[in-house]
Structures are given as C-alpha cells and as structure tokens.
C-alpha cells in the first residue's frame, strides 16, 4: 500500500473526497514523518503540530458537510519568510530573534482560506540571500539526494532549500517558497522537484519578508506539475494591500495540465549555452527539445542577446533594494537589540550581531551603489540594462514564441563548503535570474539524472501572466522524463 505521505496533492484530494482517508490521518502521517526524519534534513525549524491538528479537524468537518474547499486537508510547509500569525517568522535571520507577527501574509491566508493545513515553518537562506541554504541562522539544510555510492551530504540549493528538501523527502505535500533570482527554481532543480516563479505581481507580497521588492515573487514547490498548478491557483490573488499586485483574474491553471502542445512554438536561446557547462546539461537540454518536438511543438532558435548582463545587473539591483528594505532592522521595533553607548552604536551593534556575512555583504554593496555620486553609474544603469533584457523577451513573444526552454542550473547539487567564493556562488542563478529581471514566469521541471545519480532540471520561461502555458508544456516534459525520487537512506 502507498504510504499516505507518498500521495501527491491531486491523489490526496481524491482520496479525501472519497472519504478513503481523513485529513487528520494525512496530517498525522506527515507529523510523524517529520518527527522521524526532520533531524536528517534540518528542513523544518518550527513544527506547528497543534495548529495542523486543529486545521485538519476543521477540514474533516468541512468534508463531512460536503463543503470541501480546493486545498481541503492538504498539509503544507511554509517558508520562514511568510508572516504567520503568532508563529516563528524570521526569514531565518538572528536579527528577527523571537519575532511572532500579529498578522498573516496574504499568500498564506489564501491557502488557509482554501482549506490547507500548516505543518510548520521551513528553513531558508537568511533573508533569502543564498543559493545553497548555507547562510541560515538555523544551520544548513541537507538534500535528500546523495551521489551514487556516497554518503556525503549535499546542499538542496537555495534560498528555498528547506522547502525543496521537505518536498523531496515527503515531509510535506508541497511547500511555499519565494524567488528573487532563482530561489524557487534552483532548489527545485537540485532536489528533483517542480517549482514555479510566477509573473511579478501575480502573488501578493504583503506579509512576505522583503528582500528586493522589484524582484521578489511567491510561488510553490511541489512534486508534480499538476500539484504546482493546484497550489498556484490558491496562492495567487489580486490584493489591495500590495500596490504591485496586478489586477488580472487568476485562471484555472489545472485546466492547462494535459492539454496538447501541438503547433506551439518553443524558443531555444543560444545564449544559454555557457562555457564550462557540463556536457550532461547540454544533453539534457537536447533531450528536452526532442520530447517537445515529439509532442508536436515547433522548435525555433532564438537570441536573447542581453542574457549575460542579467546576473551583473541583478547584483546591483537586488543588493540596492535589500539595503533599503533591511534598514528597518535596527533593534527598535522588533527582534534583536544589542545595546550600545548611544542610539547609533545600538543600531551598529544590533546589525553587526544580527546579520550574517552574506547579508552584510549585500547590504554593503547596496549601500555603496546607492551612495552619493554612484546612483547613475550603478543602479540607474542596471535598471536600463533590465529594460534591454525585458526587450529581448518581448521580441521573442512578438515573433510568435509561446515559451522558452533552457536548463535550470549550470550543474547538479554540490557539497556544503564546496563553493566559498561569493561570485562563484552567484553563478548558480545564471539561467534563472533573467526571468526575475524581466518579471516573466519560469518553471523548473526535473528532467533527468547526471552520472552521479543527481537530479537536473529544465526551465520553461513564459509570457507575462501565461503560467498556464508553462504548466501545459511542463507536463509534457514531466510525462516524458518521469518523476524522480531519492533513495530513502534516512528512515532505515
């Protein structure tokens, strides 16, 4: 018999509706799995068993009354940057020490309104700054995947490392995540899971701890394309509390899953073939092209000439916005306070102790590029480059391209401590960051394994607000590639 925690959201939904299982049983199964296995991964930093049990009980009542909502009784993990009322919310930073918000983020409220169950808060890179989940105040997250024949721990990617790891190890049915430069898609690729960064403005940012406001976007990580479609439908909304939330109705994403892609035009951007990329990545990309061709899509070579400038422009825009956003952490209104002789010294001491090295680095870069005399040379120029990156995409859409296929990451998961140079670490986001800079949606789908048996992902980039097409094309890749599960070493 299939274990309850092995059910996808779509499968669990069916069994719950048919009363084959109860929401309480499903929630208990996950809570017991977390209790046994979480120590191996450090994915959850807080488990909210009481809340979960209460929500599951309410879900069972709703189902019994014939009033089941779209996510009724589905147990989810929540990234620590979503404000959850009365529950640990620190974006895994020491500076938010003890912070328990008095309000709920719009995205999580949407999920609870649709009947979902909260299992707990998930580990992440501090303030979502990182690509390996090594910058969390709460310690590294371990990837359920290991190299064949090795028991060396590997990173799950970042910044949504706890989300990706928990989903891959079946410690939740799916998880919320967030993506500023690749923080949903890169960990999804490194853990054999599916993750989508929607169009900027699709999900409300209200109640999400801010990193870079013009780039941050909420999205799910799940086990299948369909589960992503189900979750995004609930997470997305039009929200008056976020002025960048876009007034566009949320489509029924699930209706796109399983639709034919015959006649669709898929663009292959030549600029995504970078020097030193392992051969397996290129092979996988070619394989993806074949799969889509076999499904009746038309493949066209396209050019996105400003691709190589996306990452350097990102490392101006994101730190600049971060330095402004993180100015609020001063030891006055919430979180940590480290005393000093005067108020300025209190600020300086608090921020010296409260922020980790990567966060300090980015705040410093941001402060520098925004400081007197440098605004035009850095921030303004980067914002102009952004216009050019967006224009590259616009041109592809104008030429009839429906979606763009690329690798998600330049390589598979690596070991903690293996990458110590900040700029080398930043290169992990080389294929994902363009979508953030242009604001367009991107999805990562597991597509194969490398010679060490580690998962790799393919990315589809779509037109603004055309997430439906990404689910449609994504499912074709998923069907062709199959799903990937790590060998279970943790519960033996």
């Amino acid at each position: 018999m299939t274990k309850l925690v092995d059910l996808t959201i779509a499968e669990a939904r069916e069994k719950l509706a048919a009363r084959e299982i109860s929401a309480t049983e499903l929630t208990e199964a996950y809570l017991s799995e977390i209790e046994t296995a979480n120590a191996a991964f450090n994915a959850y930093i807080t488990v909210t068993g009481d809340i979960a049990r209460e929500q599951a009980k309410a879900s069972d009542a709703k189902i019994a009354a014939g009033e089941a909502r779209p996510l009724e009784g589905i147990p989810l993990g929540i990234k620590d940057l979503y404000a959850t009322k009365g529950v640990h919310t620190q974006a895994c930073s020491h500076i938010l020490d003890g912070f328990k918000p008095e309000y709920e983020s719009t995205v999580t409220q949407n999920l609870w309104n649709d009947g979902a169950v909260m299992l707990g808060k998930l580990n992440m890179d501090e303030f979502a700054m990182g690509s390996s989940n090594e910058t969390s105040f709460y310690g590294n997250v371990v990837n359920p995947w290991r190299r064949k024949g090795s028991d060396t721990a590997l990173v799950p990617g970042g910044s949504s490392g706890g989300s990706a790891s928990a989903v891959a190890a079946h410690l939740c049915a799916a998880a919320t995540a967030s993506d500023t430069g690749g923080s949903i898609r890169q960990p999804a690729a490194l853990t054999g899971t599916v993750g989508i960064k929607p169009t900027y403005g699709r999900c409300s940012r209200w109640g999400m701890v801010a990193f870079a406001s013009s780039l941050d976007q909420a999205g799910p990580i799940g086990r299948t394309v369909r589960d992503n479609a189900i979750l995004l439908k609930s997470m997305a909304s039009v929200d008056a509390k976020d002025t960048t939330s876009v007034d566009a109705p949320v489509p029924d994403y699930e209706s796109f899953v399983g639709k034919s892609i015959k006649g669709m035009k898929i663009g292959i951007p030549k600029e995504y073939r970078v020097d030193g990329m392992p051969e397996v990545i290129d092979q996988l990309w070619q394989q993806g092209i074949e799969w889509l061709k076999d499904a009746g899509a038309e493949i066209v070579e396209i050019s996105l000439p400003h691709t190589k400038y996306a990452l350097p422009a990102y490392y101006i825009v994101a730190p600049a916005e971060a330095s402004s956003n993180l100015a609020r952490y001063d030891g006055v209104r919430y979180g940590l306070r480290v005393p000093g002789n005067d108020i300025v010294e209190m600020y300086e001491n608090t921020r010296a102790v409260g922020f980790g090295d990567e966060v300090k680095r980015r705040v410093m870069i941001g402060t520098y590029v925004l400081s007197a005399g440098y605004y035009d040379a850095y921030y303004l120029k980067a914002q102009k480059v952004r216009t050019l990156i967006k224009r590259d995409f616009d041109l592809a859409w104008e030429n009839g391209v429906d979606a763009i296929l690329t690798p998600t990451t330049p390589d598979a998961a690596f070991a903690p401590g293996e990458i110590t140079d900040p700029v080398t670490m930043y290169l992990n986001d080389i294929f994902t960051v363009t979508a953030n800079m242009a604001g367009v949606p991107g999805i990562s789908i597991p597509a194969g394994l490398n010679k060490d048996g580690l998962p790799l992902g393919l990315q589809l980039i779509g037109k603004p607000f055309d997430e439906g097409t990404l689910f449609q094309v994504g499912e074709v890749i998923e069907q062709a590639a199959g799903t990937f599960k790590p060998e279970n070493w943790w519960s033996k």
Partner: protein, 95 residues
C-alpha cells in the same frame, strides 16, 4: 571602480553595521570582487534606454486619503525589544 579600506569603513558606517579592522579588510576584497563582476555592464550601450520602473504596464493604484486601519498600538509594539505605554523605547537621543 574599486573600494579601499577607508571607503569600506565609511560604507559600513552608512549601513550602520559595526565592523572591526580585520572584517573591513576581508570585506574590501569581497566587495571588490563583486564590483569587478558587475563592471561587465560597461560593455552595454544604454544610450536612449529608459530605466525599467515596473515589469508590467500598470498605473499606480491609488486609494482615498482616509484612515483604513489602526487603533491597535499595543499590537504594534508587542514585538518591540523594549516598550513602555505603547511607545518604542530607545537610548536617549536628545541631551
């Protein structure tokens, strides 16, 4: 462009992060590596290009200039490290 030790200390002061000499020294190298990386943007011709201000064409949403929320000061200060009578308490700033 690159930064020297004194610039790093000045920026740390602006960012209100206390750094000692050893940390500032280490940061100087790291920040220069990042600034070197972003220098690639000098190759791009940006003449006549408008800066991107939003990813989707949308006029800024406005609301009427009225009170829409509030009257829960005790909730606002609840997470403060030090508060008194619904005020945030800080070290003395005016002599």
């Amino acid at each position: 462009m690159s930064v020297d030790l004194n610039t790093v200390k000045r920026v740390a002061r602006l960012a209100r992060i206390k750094v000692d000499d050893a940390q500032a020294e280490k940061m100087t190298g790291e920040l220069n590596a990042i600034l070197g990386f972003v220098e690639q943007l000098d190759e791009v011709n940006i003449d006549g290009v408008e800066p991107m201000t939003s990813v989707v064409e949308q006029s800024m949403k406005k609301r009427s200039d009225g009170k829409t929320d509030g009257d829960y000061a005790d909730t606002i200060v609840k997470n403060a490290p030090v508060s008194e009578d619904n005020f945030f308490m800080v070290p003395k700033v005016v002599e």
